[in-house]
């Protein structure tokens, strides 16, 4: 017997749950502007999230997937990317999407049952929301291949959950990215649950970062409640990919503090104590503690920020609520570039009935 290969999985955290540095902070974290900007974004997302849940409860929104507790992971990803990079999200990474330019009103439209929610006016090349689990990992790999072929210094990023690491598409994407050294970073947000299925039932793998070993690419685990760690290692992975050194996998450890979606009742399958313990180490608190400690933040600023966020969210809600239903013809007009002949009659029929038509 001889050892022919060995691998190590590393874990990184910069701020501990009390907001105390547990490692030397990276450069960008010396810049208070940047930290505050991330804190502002995390706060915005959280306020947006609460509002969205209210809208759903009052019948003004469809099923909604909360991002509560994931703010550091999501914002860290968004902050590390360049505008020309490309994001292939799943369905709850609002912190990353907003940073990329997606509008809150678009997110609401999406969960409000309107395709215009994936129109992404200000994130023109990003992939839309993606519900079929892990399929987006392949889109990110394909996007990266397009950039590689054209010699563009751009990267693609996909995000999926712990549950998503069980889908074949996830592994296939990692593997092809490794084989072709594609400029793509795969992020796994390990929030411990896939609806009601806990991580132990999902896989025997001790970490999700080690899934990278199967593809021969680097894998790293970071504290996903620490926005500094997420952003730092995302930046490093993106730089590396941009230099042509290939893909990487980053596992961000966090926790889904909410139900899976508003259609779910998590109390059926998980213990209150577990949720409480996770709430104690949630991401906003931690960054705020650090900022306060550094003299960069105080109650007044917090209050002002919250008021500002509420205002922005309210404006988005208003824009959403005031968006009239799309014309029924939209069903047909975005199917192909040009409407096929046999659809002309169907389109007319849809219009006819939409006008309350009777023969």
């Amino acid at each position: 017997m001889e050892t022919i290969a060995d691998f190590e999985i590393q874990y990184s955290q910069f701020l501990d749950p009390d907001g105390r540095p547990s490692d030397t902070l990276p450069d960008f974290a010396q810049d208070s502007e940047q930290l505050i900007e991330m804190y502002r974004q995390m706060t915005l997302v959280r306020i947006f999230d609460g509002k969205a849940i209210n809208l759903q409860r009052t019948g003004k929104l469809g099923t909604y997937a909360s991002s509560l507790g994931h703010e550091a992971s999501h914002v860290g990803i968004g902050a590390a990317m360049r505008p020309e990079d490309c994001l292939a999200p799943s369905y709850r990474e609002y912190g990353a999407m907003l940073w990329r330019g997606v509008k809150m009103s678009e997110i609401l439209l999406y969960w409000g049952g309107d395709e215009r929610g994936s129109r992404f006016e200000h994130a023109p090349h990003d992939f839309p929301f993606c519900v079929p689990i892990a399929t987006q990992c392949l889109h990110a790999a394909g996007a990266a291949m397009a950039y590689q072929l054209r010699g563009e210094p751009r990267c693609a990023v996909s995000i999926n959950g712990d549950g998503g690491t069980s889908e074949g598409a996830f592994y296939e994407a990692l593997n092809v990215a490794g084989a072709k050294k594609l400029p793509v970073v795969f992020v796994v947000i390990n929030n411990k649950w896939a609806i009601s299925v806990p991580l132990e039932l999902q896989t025997a793998s001790r970490t999700l970062a080690q899934k990278a070993v199967a593809a021969g690419i680097p894998g790293l685990q970071v504290d996903g409640n620490d926005v500094i760690a997420v952003r730092h290692w995302m930046e490093r992975a993106l730089e590396r990919a941009r230099r042509g050194e290939g893909p990487a996998l980053i596992e961000a450890i966090t926790y889904r503090l909410s139900d899976h979606t508003t259609a779910d009742d998590a109390s059926r399958y998980r213990k209150k104590e577990e949720v409480e313990a996770a709430r104690a180490i949630e991401p906003l608190l931690r960054l705020r503690r650090y900022l306060v400690e550094q003299g960069l933040w105080d109650d007044a600023r917090e209050e002002a920020l919250r008021a500002e966020c509420v205002e922005r969210v309210d404006a988005a809600v208003e824009s959403y609520i005031n968006t009239p239903r799309a014309p029924v013809t939209d069903m047909f007009d975005y199917l192909f570039e040009k409407l096929p002949d046999h659809l002309v009659a169907q389109r007319e029929m849809a219009q006819h009935y939409d006008r309350g038509g009777r023969h």
Binding site: T63, G113, P132, E167, G168, S196, V197, R347, Y353, H359
Partner: protein
């Protein structure tokens, strides 16, 4: 005896067969403690334990492939695919294996498995949660495609599906999961898997449908009855293999045919029914066949889904069309 809903009919059939036959195993995403996202498997894990009701990792090809493997080795897996939009990764295992294991091994290995798939629109669900892909599976030789449309048929057909020595894709019309309550005795009586069900007898026109659209169709027939039009309504239920006889016999009597399906219009189940009639009962047809269907477009997100799906009015109009020379 309390009346139950369609989804409770599913649960009751599962429990009945698990009790009766220890080879029956329930598996899928969130079917355990959570009892399924629709609650179809609610209480089963508590009752039968976490071996016979198993949560799986999140991978549909795996759920189907695992079921094939288990079925070939003497178990009777009943797997749940959470929504029809996630059944596509399982297609390979269904077409290339489940459907042909008996054929490929000349009967040595068989594949008595059931894949339960909630399907269809109308529940204000998110993206990829509202398709009607039954035709894709109906075209594959070697599997049965079954769709119940009432609590009693959910119970009786699912029992039959689980007992079937061959694989069954069992689509459950999620829009009517809780629409109607019916008394369904837990008597273990399976329904036949090779006949269509005549829901209402009539003389003027044969209306063939299945799944949730049976509801719009029955309502349309009520409206038309007020105008003195008598509709014979057939719930296909056992989509494939298709029972030609019941349909042909009816069309030969009424001379008119309207088919109602929620799925996109072209290349759907309605097309096959039309083809069978145009081939075998053409001379009985007094008027052109009429199809009332979803449009040949992507099922829209829910703000427009009502505009996509055949409404009672559209069904009424479609039946009237079949009555016009």
């Amino acid at each position: 005896m309390a009346a139950i809903t369609l989804i409770e009919g599913v649960t009751r059939a599962l429990a009945h067969e698990m009790e009766r036959d220890e080879r029956v195993i329930v598996l899928g995403e969130d079917v355990g403690v959570n009892g399924g996202v629709f609650r179809a498997t609610a209480g089963l894990q508590q009752r039968f334990g976490d071996q016979r009701v198993q949560d799986t990792p999140l991978a549909e090809a795996m759920i189907a492939g695992l079921s094939v493997g288990m079925a070939a080795q003497g178990m009777r897996p009943v797997a749940e695919i959470q929504f029809e939009g996630f059944v596509y990764p399982a297609v390979d295992q269904i077409v290339n294996h489940a459907a042909r294991l008996r054929t490929r091994t000349r009967g040595r290995l068989t594949c008595p498995m059931v894949l339960r798939v909630p399907y269809g629109g109308g529940i204000h669900a998110p993206e990829h949660h509202s398709d009607s892909p039954e035709a894709m599976f109906a075209h594959m030789p070697g599997i049965r495609v079954v769709i119940p449309s009432s609590p009693a048929r959910a119970y009786g057909l699912l029992l039959a599906a689980i007992r079937s020595p061959d694989p069954v894709v069992f689509f459950e019309p999620k829009r009517i999961y809780r629409l109607q309550k019916q008394e369904v005795p837990d008597d273990g009586e399976a329904l036949p898997l090779d006949v269509c069900y005549t829901l209402r007898e009539g003389e003027d026109v044969t209306v063939v449908t299945w799944g949730a659209m049976t509801w719009e169709t029955l309502k349309a027939a009520d409206q038309l009855a007020d105008d003195g039009i008598s509709c014979e309504i057939i719930d296909v239920a056992t989509i494939s293999p298709l029972d030609h006889e019941t349909i042909l016999e009816s069309v030969e009597r009424t001379g008119r045919l309207c088919i109602v399906q929620e799925a996109p219009r072209s290349f759907g189940v309605a097309s096959e029914i039309a083809a069978v009639v145009a081939e075998q009962a053409l001379y009985s047809l007094r008027t052109p066949i009429s199809r009332v269907t979803g449009y040949d477009t992507i099922m829209p997100l829910f703000r427009l889904e009502t505009e996509y799906m055949p409404s009672v009015q559209r069904v009424v109009d479609g039946i009237r069309a079949a009555l016009e020379e």
